[in-house]
């Protein structure tokens, strides 16, 4: 049986199908064609996938099902509805010394989708990038008759991030300090990595003060403050927000298929073309290009000679697909390991053909040459052919064949509880500083973003253009969540937002030009020093927009305690604040 599925995890889906249908796993093939619009939602197996497979088995005919947009809104999974009650203790110099937080998540109906974990992961990432000696978190999940939660980009970390950034802003306001200084006072410092957070999570690497300071330079923060003063004199309601984001990646959850390894096969044909079969899948982010880059660079061959195969359980090594930034963390690393095995074999055989030690050889532009003697070389294809054709002479010292499969496991997660019962489930901590400059239309409550800037740290950058694309997309998704997106139910529990007309998402007209830059702090736990970038943006954008809108309305004393900031809601806040102002 073959199932074509818009999934992020073809192999685990096959495993689930085998169990659910009592079929041998090797009689099932799952193929994931090109997928878009996943964002985590397509990670778990869906009931429909199992039902379709069953229908096909029973009827012995192909069965096809296409989900409608309305069905997706109704039952594809929701996220993020959460209430936070918190108290912060701090010193006069701005240092936060204690945090007490009670969070309640409305996780909807119980389901096999994996959304409920977002409440747990959110709690786990308090206090984020800040050092707080004493933290008390109580996380509750409430089951209701709404749609069940499902994984969604950010996976709960946007909630903890929002909480921490609100804390920093509130402390700054209470003390009359700059929100920048309060953050700088509380950051985990660059020399403290790897840093074991109070929650047990271990932050791998980072330089938060530099990332924040670079943002202030890049966005000309001081000039922007002058601009704000100038516009305010003209009667405009403008505000600046600054927020920090940490979007932990590479999830390794205990005893699950959401964990920290993946595998890659590198297969070289005698005529030199390379096929790479990988267990990670692409949700449309272009990670197949990144995998091809890794293999081409490690082997010293042209990228055009590398083709990457993903999303087919009959072809690729068992892998966990795509979620939680993992393609640069485990995908690239396992491809590197397999490519290095191939390189070692090629150099060994080339060495015997060129009568040189493998250590004295260079591989570049599909040629293997003796260091310092560029005229003495073999083509990569000459060596590949020799390995296949001459197993009894020049290739006698190696195992025949030119194919390697290797798995990589992130070394810095721990599932054995420490003395306080804590485990560490995220190996990678990409982070970003956000700045937004907004204008609020005081008559309508509309928020217009005049400027948006961000500096990101995803460690070593493998493909700058794709990183930039991820940042833009992630930030826009965050803007959507902060300003527009809201799943609305009526009192009878009917979902009222089942089209994109009723559930607005930002278009290019609402989104300003985003200035994004990078600051590299390499992870010591991945071979290339990579971290992730896939979840960066939506985690921090809500915090920076609340901050900017509150600043814009600061003369009215507006305090924002909920999202999204739809015009109607902002208008109400303005009206309430004006009422309070008039009758003190």
């Amino acid at each position: 049986m073959t199932l074509y599925a818009t999934t992020q995890q073809p192999h685990p889906l096959r495993t689930t199908l085998a169990a659910a249908l009592s079929m041998p796993e090797n009689s099932i093939r799952v193929i994931q064609p090109d997928v878009g619009g996943a964002f985590g939602v397509k990670t778990p197996p869906f009931q429909e996938e199992i039902l379709l497979a069953l229908l096909s088995v029973v009827t012995k005919r192909p069965v096809k099902w296409v989900e409608e947009r309305r069905e997706n809104f109704l039952a594809g999974g929701h996220a993020r509805e959460m209430v936070h009650h918190f108290e912060v203790a701090f010193k006069k110099d701005g240092r936060v010394i204690g945090l007490k937080e009670k969070m309640i998540a409305d996780t909807g109906a119980p389901s096999p989708l994996i959304g409920w974990g977002m409440a747990f992961v959110g709690a786990l990432h308090i206090p984020g990038v800040y050092k707080i000696e004493s933290v008390d978190v109580e996380s509750s999940m409430v089951v209701t008759n709404k749609a069940p939660w499902n994984a969604y980009r950010g996976y709960g970390k946007e909630n903890s991030n929002l909480l921490m950034e609100r804390c920093m802003d509130m402390v700054a306001r209470k003390l009359g300090m700059s929100p920048i200084d309060v953050r700088l006072k509380n950051f985990v410092q660059p020399h403290e990595f790897p840093f074991k957070q109070i929650s047990g999570q271990v932050l791998d690497s980072g330089d938060y003060p530099t990332v924040l300071n670079r943002l202030l330079q890049m966005s000309q923060y001081d000039k922007l403050r002058e601009e704000r003063a100038r516009l305010r004199k003209q009667g405009k309601y403008v505000g600046i927000g600054v927020a920090f984001e940490v979007a932990p990646g590479g999830a390794c959850l205990p005893d699950s298929y959401i964990t920290g390894y993946d595998g890659t096969t590198v297969r070289v044909a005698p005529t030199r073309q390379v096929t790479v079969l990988t267990g990670i899948t692409s949700p449309g982010t272009g990670n197949e290009t990144m995998i091809a880059q890794v293999v081409a660079d490690e082997l010293g061959i042209e990228i055009g000679d590398v083709s990457v195969v993903q999303g087919d359980t009959d072809k690729c090594p068992y892998g966990l697909g795509n979620f939680s930034d993992r393609s640069t963390i485990v995908g690239a690393s396992s491809a590197m390991l397999a490519a290095r095995d191939i390189r070692e074999k090629v150099l060994k055989v080339a060495g015997s053909m060129l009568e040189a030690s493998p250590d004295d050889l260079d591989v570049e532009e599909s040629k293997i040459s003796v260091k310092g003697v560029p005229s003495k070389f073999l083509k990569f294809s000459d060596v590949a052919q020799a390995i296949y054709r001459r197993p009894y002479d020049c290739a006698i010292d190696i195992e025949p064949g030119l194919e390697a499969t290797r798995y990589f496991r992130t070394p810095n997660a721990t599932h054995i509880p420490d003395e306080q019962g804590r485990i560490s489930t995220y190996p990678s901590y990409p982070n970003m500083a956000h700045l937004a400059f907004v204008e609020v239309d005081i008559e309508t409550g509309e928020v217009k973003i005049l400027k948006y800037a961000a500096v990101h740290d995803c460690g070593y950058i493998m493909n700058p253009m794709m990183v930039e694309g991820q940042l833009h997309g992630g930030i826009v998704q965050g803007i959507g969540g902060a300003l527009y997106e809201h799943l609305v139910y009526d009192d009878a529990g009917q979902l009222l937002t089942t089209t994109f007309m009723d559930y607005p998402i930002p278009t290019s007209m609402e989104v300003p030009k985003i200035e994004a830059a990078n600051h590299e702090t390499r992870s010591p736990f991945t071979p290339y020093g990579t971290k992730g970038v896939g979840e960066s943006g939506p985690v921090g954008a809500p915090a920076v927009l609340i901050s900017a809108v509150e600043d814009a309305l600061s003369t009215l004393g507006v305090k924002i305690t909920e999202l999204p900031l739809k015009p109607n809601r902002v208008w109400e806040l303005i009206k309430e604040a004006k009422k309070v102002k008039v009758s003190p």
Partner: protein, 300 residues
């Protein structure tokens, strides 16, 4: 997904189309660009038994923009894009081009038609307010080839309801031509994202005399009520007045009183809609007024 089957007809002429309408009665539905009907069918909110497709009727018999001495005539099958880009409409009824430009997105504007949109009569429909504001007339034909003219103000009866009879087909929208100077109009729309529904759409039409004194000032609002809200007081109060900022504030007050029982939905509460009607009426008036005062230029 459309899960109710229907019969499909593709008449080649207007008379064939209205005969089909008469024959099949209330279960039949005309389709033009399909940009309102098809989404409703997909959502299961409409399930016509017969679909009568008007796109096979000879193109220039329902899709055109013409001028005579007094009027601008727009065929009911003229697309939003054509309304947006027609030089005649831009010259003689700029507010309609301006309105067409704000409808949904390019794909919708390329397929959707002005006739389809007004016959759908969605209270948030963009054309409603401006067509009432410019005193448009709607011409409909029945199977006996009898032509009836309905004023825009009478045409929009209620939510998704027009004054058309079951066997009538809207053929043309006529807009009276106005002198090209000292007239200004504007359509201003409050929406959350580009292409979104109008929370409020405000159309203002202003004429001033050579001393800048108001001859005519009219505001019509869509999106706030089940049918366009025509703020008559403004027409009466401002004749012979100098429309200064104080007068515009006064207009806002009149609008606030004129909006009874505003619509309330997930996007906007009734209170918010009423207040936005005021805000956008004033914005439309200011813009129309500024345009009317640009002497020499054609900004009606």
């Amino acid at each position: 997904m459309m899960n109710k089957p229907f019969d499909y007809f593709a008449p080649k002429s207007i008379s064939e189309a209205v005969s089909l309408l008469k024959k099949h009665g209330s279960g039949a539905k005309l389709i033009a660009g399909g940009q309102s009907l098809v989404p409703l069918m997909n959502l299961g909110l409409a399930a016509p038994r017969q679909i009568i497709d008007l796109t096979h009727i000879k193109k220039d018999s329902l899709s055109y923009v013409k001028l005579d001495k007094d009027s601008l005539m727009i065929g009911s099958m003229t697309t939003h894009s054509a309304v947006e880009n027609s030089p005649q409409i831009r010259r003689h009824c700029r507010i309609l081009s301006e309105t067409a430009m704000t409808i949904a997105d390019v794909q919708v504007r390329n397929r959707g038609t002005i006739g389809g949109s007004v016959c759908h009569a969605d209270p948030a429909g963009d054309y409603l307010a401006p067509l009432v504001a410019v005193d448009a007339e709607f011409r409909a034909i029945n199977p006996k080839r009898k032509v009836r003219t309905i004023s825009a103000d009478k045409f929009f009866v209620d939510i998704f309801t027009t004054a058309l009879k079951r066997d009538e087909l809207l053929t043309e929208i006529r807009v009276p031509k106005r002198p090209s100077t000292r007239n200004g109009s504007a359509y201003v729309k409050h929406k959350y994202v580009e292409g979104g529904f109008a929370i409020v759409g405000a159309a203002a039409v202003v004429s001033v005399n050579k001393d800048g004194i108001c001859d005519r000032a009219k505001v019509v609002l869509s999106g706030v009520s089940t049918r366009p809200v025509r703020v008559d007081m403004i027409e009466k109060e401002f004749r012979g007045e100098n429309l200064d900022e104080r007068a515009i504030e006064e207009a806002g007050r009149i609008v606030r009183e004129a909006v009874h029982d505003p619509l309330s939905d997930i996007h906007a509460s009734a209170d918010y809609r009423r207040e936005m009607a005021v805000v956008f009426a004033k914005r439309a008036l200011r813009l129309a007024l500024a345009r009317s005062r640009k002497t020499g230029a054609q900004h009606n």
